[in-house]
Every structure is written in structure tokens, then in C-alpha cells.
């Protein structure tokens, strides 16, 4: 019955034509994501471009949508904002946040001033689904909320020389991988008297009722173990080439950095877009916005970068209520070879990981469940779970929990299967999806208003004597982010921004940073005074003074990877 309903629901969803504006009351399969991207591209051909980034292990295409207004310049002339999601195949609502963001920006361009400005200001690179195989299998196959997370690179978990030969199986054919339990008077669990769908631990002296057997499945390879070698495991978010560590140190790392073909393709895509200064990577779950570093030994970030993150993070906490702005290694756990370590260090960007959805919001009596309770790993049935079941029963009419039913297992004999479905626990129900995608896309839009925006102001041209002129130049940054991240400066990742002065028949005699404009104090550069490497601080300025000798005019040029290029021709005559 449930299987038939699920099949019907899937058919209905597939029958829906994807139209702009996009709807967010259902989840998009991989194919539907592609349709949605094509629909956005077709509806806004001027503002968008659809690219094939590369292919996954199973040959699915990874798509990227670029949003850029050519009227305000080519993409590389602006800061790049990169947003992706679903690098873990099961974390699907991340894809919907990306689609919603694109939909929000495009359908409101020219209608809302703030949206119009933020579209004009930046170039957006949006990859809704990174782990395309994982998402496809998560939709198509029976799953738990946590399976099909990794890349489709086979791995011999049980070291028997066979690859991925014994994963979980949907033995009762209901479309879900739930839990198996067996009657056992010596077991450590018994039925919860408050709700017979839950089990609680037996107290000393009490008689047991159940033993939990683990995920639904059989012993496919006949080795006496059940589900011991399932699909994968390379974790797409441990396979990036910065601070990568091999699998015996970091589980899921892959044999070498960028072993994942899609991961490699995305890395190349990003490295080919040097203007990317802000990165969002969406995951589930827990309700967090995480910044680096992702492991302790990396040390703390430069203070200048922390200031930027704190500004963004503290505002985002208000935009998405209940979400916390945290530090990855300190507040969560250490990881190596993370995506955002790559983007922070090798792309030279700021990066935030959005952990979408808080299961606590599935309330029945209106009080959010206590987080502590939910996170306790060893807890059996808790008040939190009882409340989630009430939510499931009375708000979702039983959609997310499969009641225990008996099944004749080839190995164990009479067992029962039941429990939470794959669409539970880590994903909001579609009726709650709209709120989640809107608020989190708003976090991106808020951030995109603070990318570096540099203005060049020649605020003094003064004749000293004869052909010798003093020219003062000010670079002002109206964004919160500096034009080059502090980590980039520290690592010497690439040539910082360049300020140069040239002119036909004009010689730059000297030039340097004006450290005190009133006192005329200048830190002159000994060699090549016509070229200066610089960083324009966030919400700040930097001033230069040049001594030039000649007639006519000079060209002042500011060139930045992230903040575009500005040129200005300045006549050598006294400014009024």
C-alpha cells in the first residue's frame, strides 16, 4: 500500500512540468534539477549561462548556472559568489536552496531594488548538485536518511577481494531501508510503554524483548555478515587537495586528492574563475553556519578574516533563526581535505558551510526540542523522539515513520522491520521547505551585498615645480570583504591587487603608500615606483602618493582578481 502510494507520488511529481518561477513544495530529482536549470536559463537568456562542469563516476553531468548581468560587465570584472550543495548525496535540500537562490535573484531582478543591486554587483556560480550520482540513487533506490552520501567509487570495506557486494536491501519491498529487530528475551531493549513504535533500554533485572539487528538487509555474499560492504566509500568532502590526508587518517579521503572525477572537475572550474571571493556550500543538518579552519593544527585564521566572518555569521544567525555560526573543527570535529579548506586557501575566498535543517523544528506541542537530548548518541527512545512521532502522526499523517511489521528473513527467521524513512530526520517535509530555502538563500543574498567594491579616487594633483607633479590616489572599499583575503596575503597565493601609474612621456619618479595624508608621510618604494601590490581592506581605504615628471596625462589602473579593474586618466594640471 505504502509502496503504491510512493510510486504514485513519484509519478505525480514527474508529471509536473518544471516552470519558472520554480515551485518549492516538492523535492527535485536529479533530472528535475537539470530541467529547472534549463528552464531558468531559457527564461533569462541574458542574465544566465548554463555550463557542464564535468561528469561523475557514473557519467552524470554536473551543471553550473552562472548569473551575471552583462550590462554591468563581464563576470571576471566583478566579485564571484559561488554556491553549491548536495556534495553528500543524501543531503538533498541543499540543491533546493541553490535553485531557490537562482530563482529568487532572477525572478525579482528589476523588481526589488536590493535584488537588482546584488545581481548587478556580482557574478554568481551556482552548482545545485555536486554529488549527482548520490542524489540520483537517493531518489531512485531504497535508502536510509544517511545512505548514498559518498561518491560512487567502489571500496572493499570487508577486505574479501569483492567490491560493494553486500549493502543493505529493501527486504520488505516498501521502498525504504529501515531497521530490523528480532524478538529476544535476552535482548537489551523492550517496547516503550509510552509508544509501542519505540524501544527503550531494559533496566538491570528487567526482561528484554528485542535485539536490534541493524539496517534492513540480507547476507548477499554468504560470508556470515549482513550489510558489511555497501556502496563506496569516498566522501566527496574529504577529497580536496588542501591539507588532504590519506584514508587511514581521514576516513573517506580517497586514494589521492581529487580522485573523484566530479570533484576534480569542480576544482578546475573554480580555479578557472579567479574572481570567486565568497563560497557557500550547503549540507544537512543541524542548523549551523560553519567557518574554517577545519582542523586544529591549521591554527586560527588571520584576524582580518575572522572579522569578516564574524560580521557575516552574526547577521546570518538572525536571518536564519535557530542556526548557529560556529567554527568547524572546534565546534564540530576535525576534518582533512575539505572543500572549504580548498576554497579558502587555494581559491582565495571566504567560505561558509550551511548545515540545513533542525529536526527540533518538527514540533507537535510548539516547544522546540532540546538540542542536547537529540544529539546524545547513546540515548534510546527520548522525549524528543516521542514528540517527533506525534508530529509524524498528527501533522504528517504518518508519512515519515514505517510501523513495525513482521518479515521472514532468510538468515534470522522471523524479524520485524520498521522505523524512520529516508525522507525523515535530516530533511524538512516539503511543507516546511519553502521557509528553509528562503531564509538560507537570504543568508547568501545578504552576504553578496558585502563583496569587495573598490572605488578609485584621485584626490589631489599638485604641481611641485616645473614638470614635477604630486598625485594622490585613494582606493576605497565599500564592501565588508577586503579585495584580497588575509589568508591569501599570508600564503602568497597569487599576486595581490596591482595599482600602477603610466603615461606617455611621463616618468614616475617615486611612489608609495601615504601613511599620513596630513603630515605628508609616505612609505616610498625603492624599485619600480610605478607599480604597487596592494590589498584594499574591507570597509576601509588605502592611499598612495606618486611623484611624476612630465606633461600631459597619466593613466592610473587598479587591477584586482576579485574586485575588478578600474582605470582613470588624470590630466597633469592642478585640481581645483
Amino acid at each position: 500500500m505504502t509502496a503504491a502510494l510512493t510510486a504514485l507520488a513519484i509519478m505525480l511529481i514527474q508529471a509536473q512540468e518544471v516552470k519558472v518561477p520554480l515551485r518549492f513544495d516538492f523535492y527535485y530529482s536529479y533530472e528535475k534539477v537539470v530541467e529547472a536549470l534549463k528552464a531558468l536559463n531559457a527564461a533569462y537568456p541574458e542574465l544566465t549561462k548554463l555550463d557542464q562542469v564535468g561528469k561523475s563516476e557514473e557519467g552524470r553531468i554536473i551543471w553550473a548556472l552562472t548569473i551575471n548581468n552583462p550590462q554591468t560587465g563581464e563576470p571576471f570584472s566583478k566579485p564571484g559568489v559561488y554556491v553549491d550543495g548536495n556534495i553528500h548525496g543524501n543531503e538533498i535540500q541543499a540543491g533546493e536552496v541553490c535553485l531557490y537562490l537562482a530563482n529568487r535573484l532572477l525572478t525579482n531582478y528589476g523588481k526589488l531594488k536590493e535584488i537588482t543591486d546584488v545581481v548587478d554587483r556580482n557574478a554568481y556560480y551556482i552548482i545545485p548538485v555536486v554529488n549527482v550520482d548520490g542524489r540520483a540513487h537517493f531518489f531512485a533506490d531504497a535508502n536510509t536518511p544517511s545512505t548514498n552520501r559518498g561518491l560512487r567509487i567502489p571500496f572493499d570495506d570487508d577486505r574479501d577481494g569483492l567490491l560493494d557486494e553486500d549493502g543493505p536491501d529493501d527486504i520488505d519491498g516498501d521502498g525504504h531501508i529501515t531497521t530490523m529487530r528480532i524478538r529476544d528475551t535476552l535482548g537489551k531493549l523492550r517496547t516503550d510503554p509510552a509508544d509501542n513504535r519505540l524501544m527503550i533500554a531494559v533496566k538491570p533485572g528487567e526482561k528484554g524483548e528485542w535485539t536490534r539487528l541493524g539496517q534492513e538487509g540480507i547476507d548477499n555474499d554468504g560470508d556470515g555478515l549482513v550489510n558489511e560492504d555497501s556502496e563506496g566509500f569516498v566522501d566527496g568532502n574529504r577529497n580536496w587537495g588542501f591539507n588532504w590526508q590519506p584514508p587511514y587518517v581521514q576516513r573517506g579521503a580517497g586514494n589521492y586528492p581529487f580522485e573523484g572525477t566530479g570533484i576534480k572537475a569542480i576544482a578546475e572550474y573554480m580555479l578557472a574563475r579567479p574572481n570567486i571571493i565568497m563560497v557557500f556550500a550547503f549540507h544537512n543538518n543541524g542548523g549551523m553556519y560553519l567557518r574554517g579552519p577545519s582542523f586544529k593544527a591549521a591554527g586560527e585564521l588571520p584576524q582580518g578574516d575572522i572579522t569578516v566572518y564574524d560580521f557575516l555569521g552574526k547577521n546570518i544567525e538572525k536571518i536564519v533563526p535557530g542556526y548557529e555560526y560556529l567554527i568547524s573543527w572546534k565546534d564540530l570535529y576535525s576534518t582533512y581535505g575539505d572543500f572549504t579548506d580548498f576554497t579558502n586557501n587555494l581559491v582565495g575566498s571566504y567560505s561558509l558551510v550551511g548545515e540545513l535543517f533542525q529536526v527540533e523544528t518538527e514540533t507537535y506541542d510548539g516547544t522546540p526540542m532540546r538540542k542536547q537530548e537529540e544529539r546524545s548518541r547513546f540515548a534510546e527512545a527520548s522525549d524528543a523522539e516521542r514528540q517527533r512521532l506525534l508530529f509524524n502522526d498528527n501533522v504528517l499523517q504518518g508519512e515519515l515513520f514505517v510501523k513495525w511489521k513482521s518479515y521472514k528473513h532468510p538468515l534470522y527467521g522471523e524479524v520485524e522491520t520498521g522505523g524512520w524513512t529516508k525522507m525523515s530526520s535530516r530533511l524538512p517535509h516539503p511543507f516546511m521547505l519553502q521557509d528553509l530555502v528562503h531564509r538560507n538563500a537570504s543568508a547568501v543574498i545578504f552576504t553578496a551585498q558585502y563583496t569587495p567594491k573598490v572605488l578609485l579616487d584621485v584626490f589631489e594633483v599638485k604641481k611641485i615645480e616645473g614638470d614635477l607633479w604630486s598625485v594622490r590616489v585613494r582606493l576605497v572599499n565599500e564592501g565588508a570583504m577586503p579585495s584580497v583575503t588575509h589568508a591569501t596575503m599570508k600564503n602568497k597565493l597569487y599576486t595581490p591587487d596591482i595599482l600602477s601609474v603610466t603615461g606617455r612621456g611621463v616618468k614616475v619618479v617615486s611612489g608609495g603608500v601615504l601613511t599620513d595624508a596630513w603630515m605628508g608621510m609616505v612609505d616610498y618604494k625603492e624599485y619600480k615606483p610605478e607599480v604597487h601590490l596592494c590589498q584594499v581592506p574591507g570597509f576601509g581605504k588605502i592611499e598612495y602618493q606618486f611623484l611624476v615628471s612630465g606633461k600631459g596625462s597619466i593613466d592610473i589602473r587598479f587591477e584586482s582578481r576579485k574586485a575588478g579593474t578600474i582605470t582613470q586618466t588624470v590630466p597633469l594640471k592642478a585640481k581645483p
Binding site: 572493499d156 574479501d160 558489511e228 584514508p247 587518517v249 576516513r251 586528492p257 597569487y494 619600480k528
Partner: protein
């Protein structure tokens, strides 16, 4: 890459690479010669496949055949070394047109160099502590092409392939590349090695020599697996005493009962669970075979009549191919540099005549037999702090507070003694000596005056590039004849697994115990200790093939995860069969060979 062998990936293979820096011409010669020796000898290819990469860094090596000659391990990608507004804009310039990039010396007020006494061709640092003032500044030969006040700071060339591998990769290092495997040359090797699990041994020709100088330990960051501290959070939850330390074996024993059935605690699991981090020193079991083989190789050289003392080979660089092959593939890795600069004969040894190695083996009595004067001279040579006087040390040994071996261990911890500054760099001295004797002086360009556009009057001269690691062509054949045959001895030590004994015992009621002994018939363990830790070498799999039997205990496919050199282990199954059956026991390992036995059971 050259592949030699008849059976391809069906038999254990040796991966040979050479010249990963592109700056070791002799390495490529060695690999090519090795290939032709293998091709000519059928016994080397009957059960073995060879994958030979004679030139791991072709772009850098191409520079060896162009003028002017200079050493640079970067491949042909461009890289902005000085992170300025131009790329590859300030390379070397052959100012004197002699075809070599050597050095420039110029007299300057802030010079720190002075000529070496007795060898004015060479330079040494002035010792300010002894009241010396520097005379010269040294630069590499060239002009300031981009006018930024620096000389040759952005030479053409990108990534050094040999430091672009993932073990201890140095981010943002000079010539290290953007990320491990970012160079196409290293990426190709990463992919090749993992696509060929039959590779059982790695050899590499370059500037290191694990046969003479086994890979060194002592790096900070490696966890001492005999003294593991359990993190408080995990430890208290699992019932460990977090105030003490545990050995790896103790932890495995304690963790085992907490694991789900069928799961076995092993080192790799514990290390990753406790976050012990990457292994950065060779594991002790592996060091043991490295040291034994090294002793054997030195004996081999001695028997071949090699008496000349040579300079120690280089230690492997972080991010290098050879370190990666050991730490990440978990394979035995042997490297060779084929030739080392001979040490010039020292005119009569003055001083104590005591070495740390000798001290290590001395008994207390032998030590006390030394004269106080000699002990004092020894302490001075080693740069021991002043409070460790000869009298005091002798007193401690006499009183039994310290043994000579302990003293040796302490001295090993101290910074190495300062070289005799007055003599200059011993290696440079040796190059010049070798050049004079064996190369008709062609290894050195005499200093000659040159009018430099920005530095004024300079002198150009110095050691010719490659003189340090490349002997004259006439020496190559005999060096290869001396060194290469030993590699074929090493291959014989590869682990070889076999089923050495099979036995059936009737238990009654149609139930039988089947036991099979698996033996590693060779010297090297399967896999290395590092391979056990990283679990990259696939286990050998023992399979039972038969119709109509029931396995009551034991698995149909049993992984043989490890087998020490010359060791055996027993595997047992309990089998029920109503009638007489033939069981085929198959043992299959990509790295250590296949074997099978048949046995009749039941009836």
C-alpha cells in the same frame, strides 16, 4: 613508461621511476640500463612484471641539453615565483657566455662571504664571532631583468614533480605546486599506482639512496604507539583511564568487545578513530628490514672492491615520490643515487678518533680506558656544552650513573657539531677536488672580472651545474654494472605466499576440521608494517571451492591480512559434508602470488 614482462598485471610487479626532479641525469641512464638488462634476462620476467618510468620530470630534464646550463627541477608550467605583476620575467643570464650559470661575487659593504683559506676558488661565510668581516656578496649569474632590485628571483619553471606527491606535501612551498598531484607528471603516477594493485615493490633512481642511508625517523608529529594518550571525551565514554597511556595492543584488546560482531579491531582502525594522524617516521618493523638490507648492500659493495669513502646521499624531500610510495602505498621502496661524490682523503686525522657509533658499542671499561685528553677532544668536536667536561663524564661512567650507550644517545640528540668554518663547505671542496682530478678542472669556472650593468664590477665563476651529482660519461657503465645487479637480489626478497600444508581431521557425524598453513616463503613481510597501517595493499584471499559442503565455521573467502617474512599461520574451517568431496583451496594475492591445493574430505 616501459612495461616488461609476459604476464602483465596477473603477476606481482615492480614499479621503477627515475629522475623525478629532472636534475639527475645518471638516474635516467640507470633506469634505461636496468630496462635493457631485464629485457635480456628471461628469468627476471617469467613471474614478474616491470613498469619502468625512466624520466619522471621530462620538462626539467630537457634543460640539461640546452644552454646555458643550470639546475632547476621545475616543469614547464609557468609560475610567478615572486608573486609580482609579471611571470617568469627574471631568469638567469649567461653573462660571460660560457654556457654555464655559475655565481657572481661582488665586493660590498654588507658582504658576508670571504674566500676559503688555501682554496681561494671557494667561498665561506665570515665568522663575525671571531672578528671577521665579510667581503663579498654572492648572487647567481644574471641581471635584474625586471628592475625590482632582486636577481633571478623568477626563473621560468613551475612545479618540481618530486615534491608534488601527497605525503608531507608542503603547501605554498617553492616549486611544490598548488596541491599534491597538481602536476600532470605526478598525477599520472598517482593514478597508475592505484590502478595497479599488483605493484609489490618500488624502486627509484634519483638523489636519495635508501640502501646506503635508510629513511630516517625522528620527525616530530608521529605518535609513539607504545604510549598513546586517549582523548578525554572518547576515553571516559569508553571506560579508559585518561590519565595514563596505553599501548596499541592494549587499546585493540579493550576496543574489540565494543565492536559489532564480525568486526576486528586493528591498528589502522584505532589510529584513525583516535585521530593519531599521519605516520611520519618509518615504522620500527620496516626500519629493521631497511637496516638489514643496507648492511647487506654495504657488504656487497665491499666484496665488489669499493673502498672509496663517499658523501652521504641526500635525504628524501617532503612531498617526494619515494616517501609517498612508502607511506601511502605501503610498499617496500628502495632508491639509488648510483654515484656519490668521493670524500677527499683527509690528511691525517687529528683529534679524538672517537665516533658516536664507536661510543654506542663501548663497554664502561673500554670507555674508562680512554685518556681524559681524548675524551675532552671528543666532547669538543661534538660541540658539547662546556659543563660536560671530560672529568665529569668520566666520573659519571665510573659511578655507573650513565652508560656509554646512553651518552651516545644523548649526543645524537644534540645539534650536529659546527663544521670547521675555515675550510668552507666540505662538499664544495670535494667537488673542486674531483673536478681537478677526474674532470680536468672542467667542474669549475675560474672567477673572472665582468662589468655588470647594475652591480658594477663583479667576478663570475664557481662550480659548474651538475658537477655535484653527475660523473664523467666514461664512469657510467662501470657504476651501473656495480649497482644495478643488486636490485635483482632485492626482488628475490619480495614476499611470496604459498599453502604449505593442508590437513583434514574427522570430528564425527560428517563434520571435519580443515586446516591450511599459509607460509611467506620469502624475506620481506606481507605487507610492510606501513601497509598494515594504511591498509592499501589488498589482503591475500583464501577461497574454498567445492560443491555440496556446508561451512560451519570460518568463511568461504578468508582475507590473509598479513604474513611476516619466513612465517606461517594456520587457518581453520569446520565443514560438514555427507559424502566424499574434493575441496580446492585457492590463495590469491596480487602482490605475493597465487597458490592452490586440493584435498579430499568426507566419505
Amino acid at each position: 613508461m616501459i612495461e616488461i614482462g609476459k604476464a602483465g598485471s596477473a603477476v606481482p610487479a615492480v614499479l621503477v621511476t627515475a629522475n623525478m626532479t629532472g636534475t639527475t641525469p645518471l638516474a635516467t641512464e640507470a633506469a634505461l640500463s636496468l630496462a635493457s638488462r631485464i629485457a635480456a634476462d628471461a628469468s627476471l620476467t617469467s613471474t614478474r612484471t616491470w613498469y619502468i618510468v625512466p624520466l619522471g620530470n621530462p620538462d626539467a630534464y630537457a634543460r640539461y641539453f640546452t644552454k646555458p646550463l643550470y639546475t632547476d627541477p621545475g616543469n614547464a608550467t609557468s609560475f610567478n615565483d615572486d608573486a609580482d605583476d609579471q611571470t617568469d620575467e627574471d631568469g638567469y643570464n649567461d653573462l660571460n657566455g660560457d654556457g654555464f650559470i655559475t655565481q657572481m661575487r661582488v665586493k660590498a659593504p654588507d658582504g658576508i662571504w670571504v674566500p676559503v683559506e688555501g682554496e681561494p676558488r671557494l667561498m665561506r661565510r665570515a665568522d663575525a664571532a671571531k672578528g671577521e668581516k665579510g667581503v663579498y656578496k654572492l648572487f647567481s649569474e644574471g641581471i635584474d631583468d625586471d628592475g625590482d632590485g632582486q636577481y633571478n628571483e623568477d626563473t621560468p619553471g613551475g612545479t618540481n614533480v618530486n615534491i608534488n606527491f601527497p605525503h608531507l606535501f608542503k603547501s605554498f612551498g617553492k616549486r611544490s605546486g598548488l596541491y599534491p598531484g597538481s602536476a600532470p607528471e605526478s598525477e599520472a603516477l598517482l593514478k597508475f599506482a592505484f590502478a595497479h594493485p599488483e605493484i609489490a615493490m618500488v624502486m627509484s633512481f634519483g638523489s636519495t639512496n635508501f640502501l646506503l642511508a635508510p629513511p630516517q625517523g625522528g620527525r616530530k608529529g608521529s605518535v609513539d604507539t607504545d604510549n598513546i594518550r586517549i582523548p578525554r571525551e572518547i576515553g571516559t565514554a569508553m571506560g579508559f583511564d585518561v590519565t595514563r597511556t596505553y599501548t596499541m595492543a592494549e587499546i585493540m584488546e579493550m576496543v574489540q568487545p565494543m565492536l559489532p560482531p564480525g568486526m576486528t579491531a586493528d591498528e589502522s582502525m584505532i589510529a584513525s578513530f583516535l585521530g593519531l594522524g599521519a605516520v611520519v617516521n618509518p615504522l620500527p618493523e620496516d626500519l629493521a628490514f631497511y637496516n638489514e638490507i643496507s648492511t647487506d648492500f654495504k657488504e656487497y659493495l665491499k666484496n665488489k672492491g669499493v673502498t672509496e669513502e663517499r658523501f652521504d646521499p641526500a635525504q628524501p624531500e617532503d612531498g617526494s615520490f619515494e616517501l609517498w610510495a612508502y607511506y601511502h602505498l605501503g610498499l617496500p621502496v628502495f632508491t639509488m643515487d648510483i654515484w656519490g661524490l668521493p670524500k677527499p682523503k683527509e690528511e691525517k686525522k687529528e683529534g679524538s678518533g672517537i665516533t658516536i657509533e664507536a661510543l654506542e658499542k663501548m663497554s664502561a671499561d673500554e670507555f674508562l680506558a680512554l685518556e681524559e685528553e681524548k675524551v675532552g677532544a671528543f666532547l669538543k668536536e661534538r660541540g658539547a656544552p662546556a659543563q660536560y667536561s671530560a672529568t665529569m663524564v668520566i666520573g659519571m661512567i665510573k659511578g655507573g650513573q650513565m652508560k656509554p650507550a646512553q651518552m651516545a644517545a644523548m649526543m645524537k640528540q644534540m645539534p650536529p657539531p659546527k663544521k670547521d668554518e675555515k675550510k668552507g663547505d666540505p662538499k664544495e671542496t670535494a667537488i673542486v677536488a674531483f673536478s681537478d682530478k677526474q674532470m680536468e678542472g672542467k667542474g669549475f669556472v675560474p672567477w673572472t672580472v665582468y662589468k655588470h650593468p647594475t652591480l658594477g664590477e663583479v667576478e663570475i665563476g664557481g662550480i659548474v651545474p651538475f658537477a655535484e651529482n653527475t660523473p664523467p660519461v666514461t664512469m657510467i657503465d662501470s657504476l651501473l654494472d656495480l649497482n644495478l645487479p643488486y636490485l635483482f637480489e632485492l626482488v628475490k626478497r619480495l614476499p611470496k605466499l604459498a599453502i604449505s600444508q593442508v590437513k583434514v581431521t574427522e570430528k564425527g557425524g560428517g563434520v571435519y576440521q580443515l586446516e591450511a598453513w599459509v607460509t611467506n616463503e620469502s624475506y620481506l613481510s606481507f605487507p610492510t608494517a606501513m601497509g598494515k597501517r594504511n591498509k592499501v595493499p589488498a589482503p591475500a584471499i583464501m577461497t574454498l571451492e567445492s560443491e555440496g559442503i556446508e561451512i560451519l565455521s570460518g568463511k568461504k573467502r578468508t582475507p590473509v591480512n598479513e604474513m611476516g617474512g619466513m612465517k606461517s599461520a594456520r587457518y581453520i574451517w569446520l565443514i560438514r559434508t555427507p559424502a566424499k568431496r574434493t575441496i580446492k583451496i585457492k590463495l590469491e594475492s596480487k602482490q605475493a602470488g597465487n597458490d592452490s591445493e586440493q584435498i579430499i574430505i568426507g566419505g
